[in-house]
């Protein structure tokens, strides 16, 4: 049994040429144990999908090494493809002109499954993922949630030893997302050797599903441990959620205040409220923040101390939340 089913060493990937080079991955080294559900957590543009593309042999690294199941993704791509599958969120899972069953049958044959096995698997997966009633419906007519169920079914058809899930619940309603998460966890446990690499920017998803999580930002792994251990490291750091009645104000001054470790902000257009998550060196800092907000004539609706989440781990490491990191990346 391999100790590390997936291993990358100093993985670098750049895009663009000469004067316009973007470094998507900057020396990424990760190890994923066999049977583990491993999460890559980071904002959009952090490099999560680039890692998945390299590990699934869709993309070559600029430098560094990567192995899946002991096979080099560069030199032994065909062997890697025999043991993996990929499910991506928010994409078309097959030919819209074919029915769900036809699509799954098509892929089962590309995966080389014997007819009787393929039929049995398609039947089981459509029942397990609760979309059997749509088996004869054209894929194009399915809702986003059922398309994603079909996508997951396709990804499990060949019983992959390594399943890559790239933002698998993107754009799904809460219940469907929950159902897919539960199914993947059950599948990994049931198969025992089913190793999963999940990329997500949903903290709760990573928290619920992953045995270990790597936090990635600007192509670099900032931390890697179990969600519990990552959060445990923050126990000594006071965290407060402050709701302010303004979505127009500039809150960047908080980040610059003495004693502030990090701050994220979520603006809700519907409620007109900005939720600030502030991490501080000590609780006195919160009093200073309240005074400063009063000075700025910003109405504080509530302030509550909160338990650390994976987002707080990210804020602690980067100094700001996902939304701010994505805004900066887009700018």
């Amino acid at each position: 049994m391999l100790e590390n089913f997936v291993e990358t060493r100093g993985l670098v990937r750049t895009f663009g040429k000469k004067n316009d080079v973007v470094k998507a991955l900057d020396g990424v080294s990760i190890s994923i144990r066999e049977g583990e559900i491993f999460g890559l957590l980071g904002p959009n543009g952090a490099g999560k999908t680039t890692i998945i593309k390299i590990l699934t042999t869709l993309l070559l690294p600029t430098s560094g090494e990567a192995y899946v199941g002991g096979f080099s993704v560069v030199k032994e791509a065909n062997k890697v493809r025999n043991i993996i599958n990929l499910v991506s969120g928010g994409e078309t899972p097959g030919y819209g002109i074919l029915t769900v069953s036809e699509n799954l049958w098509f892929f089962s044959q590309l995966y080389g499954l014997p007819s009787s096995v393929a039929k049995e698997k398609i039947k089981r997966l459509t029942v397990d993922l609760d979309f059997k009633k749509y088996a004869t419906t054209r894929m194009a007519k399915l809702s986003t949630g059922f398309k994603q169920r079909m996508s997951l079914a396709r990804g499990l058809l060949n019983d992959p030893k390594m399943l890559f899930l790239d933002e698998p619940t993107l754009g799904l309603d809460v219940l469907t997302a929950k159902r897919l998460r539960t199914y993947v966890i059950d599948w990994a446990k049931r198969e025992k050797k089913g190793t999963v690499l999940l990329t997500t920017h949903y903290m709760a998803e990573a928290d619920e599903m992953c045995d270990r999580v790597a936090i990635i930002n600007n192509g670099k792994i900032l931390a890697c441990d179990s969600p519990t251990a990552l959060k445990e490291n923050l126990k000594a750091t006071p965290i407060a959620k402050i709701d302010v009645s303004s979505i127009q104000a500039d809150f960047s001054f908080i980040q610059k205040m003495r004693g502030v470790v990090g701050c994220s902000e979520t603006r809700s257009i519907q409620t007109g409220v900005t939720s600030l998550k502030v991490m501080a060196q000590n609780e006195k800092v919160f009093s200073d923040i309240m005074s400063k907000l009063n000075e700025e004539k910003l109405k504080v609706l509530s302030i509550n101390e909160t338990e650390p989440t994976l987002e707080d781990v990210y804020i602690r490491l980067v100094g700001k939340g996902f939304e701010q990191a994505e805004e900066k990346a887009n700018a």
Partner: protein, 284 residues
């Protein structure tokens, strides 16, 4: 890779190709389109010749047969170039399945080959219908004698020419797939340009000898020139025709096309993987 996996992939690709090409219409409408498209091409050329020969008072039945055979068999070029010229774009950008096919153990090569074979099957059905209806219209209705003896067709030569020709056109299709994977938005014009060049220089409706010397040089380098010559030999049984030489040239140019087409596709796939183009999304 297991042979059974390859065969399954090819079979499924043929089936998907059929679905993709026929899904837009009712079966009856599609059947009519299937017949009308190639037949219209033949009738246009045929009537132009008949009108021209009527005006000059000179009708050459051998030339009419030359044109009839050339135009009918050109359907293979049109069909294979259209199928293979569009499939990368369709599967990558429209259906978004290319990356999953690429990641499947059966490999993209066999899938593309299957789609190409679907094009060959479609073209063969169109060809049979065109020949049948073409003869019925020109000989039956318009009383123009086409000097083809349907009972003395040289089937061994015909079969060999068809096999070599299909291999050659499919190899050319792989070249188009390679170009398409590296580029975007050229898929529509690419297959038409290639078909157009082959139509112009390949001796489809006129003898390449009437082309200027540089045009003849191009014609001599194209496998379709020899493909149509050997096909015509098989149908028209022209005495003295050096069909063995033409078959040899067809084999040589086919081999060259395989090397170019397959080599270009292999390089393109490497470049596509290097540049992250296999799952590139385009506006559609």
């Amino acid at each position: 890779m297991a042979v059974s996996t390859i065969l399954k992939a090819v079979k499924q690709a043929i089936w998907v190709g059929w679905k993709v090409e026929t899904n837009w219409a009712d079966p009856l409408v599609f059947a009519i389109y299937y017949l009308i498209r190639p037949l219209a091409g033949l009738l246009i050329v045929g009537f132009i010749y008949l009108i021209g020969s009527g005006a000059t008072g000179v009708f050459n039945p051998n030339y009419f047969a030359f044109m009839f055979i050339g135009n009918s068999f050109f359907i293979y070029v049109v069909q294979i170039m259209t199928t293979m010229g569009m499939l990368i774009h369709d599967d990558r950008s429209h259906y978004e399945v290319l990356k999953h096919i690429y990641l499947a153990p059966s490999s993209l090569w066999w899938y593309i080959l299957g789609r190409a074979l679907n094009g060959v099957v479609n073209a063969s059905i169109s060809l049979l219908l065109t020949l049948g209806f073409g003869v019925a219209i020109f000989q039956g209705l318009l009383h123009q004698q086409i000097p083809i003896n349907w009972f003395s067709v040289n089937f061994p030569v015909l079969a060999l020419s068809l096999v070599l020709g299909m291999i050659c056109f499919v190899a050319l299709g792989f070249l188009l797939c390679g170009i398409n994977i590296m580029t975007s938005r050229v898929q529509f014009m690419l297959s038409e340009y290639v078909s157009g060049i082959l139509y112009l220089f390949g001796g489809v409706v006129f003898l390449p000898e009437i082309l200027p010397s540089w045009g003849q040089a191009i014609s001599n380098a194209l496998p379709i020139t020899y493909f149509l010559r050997t096909i015509r030999f098989a149908f028209l049984n022209q005495a003295g025709s050096a069909f063995q030489t033409d078959l040899l040239y067809l084999a040589v140019t086919t081999l060259a096309t395989i090397l170019v087409g397959v080599g270009a596709f292999k390089i393109a796939m490497y470049k596509a993987r290097k540049d992250g183009l296999i799952d590139r999304k385009e506006e559609y």
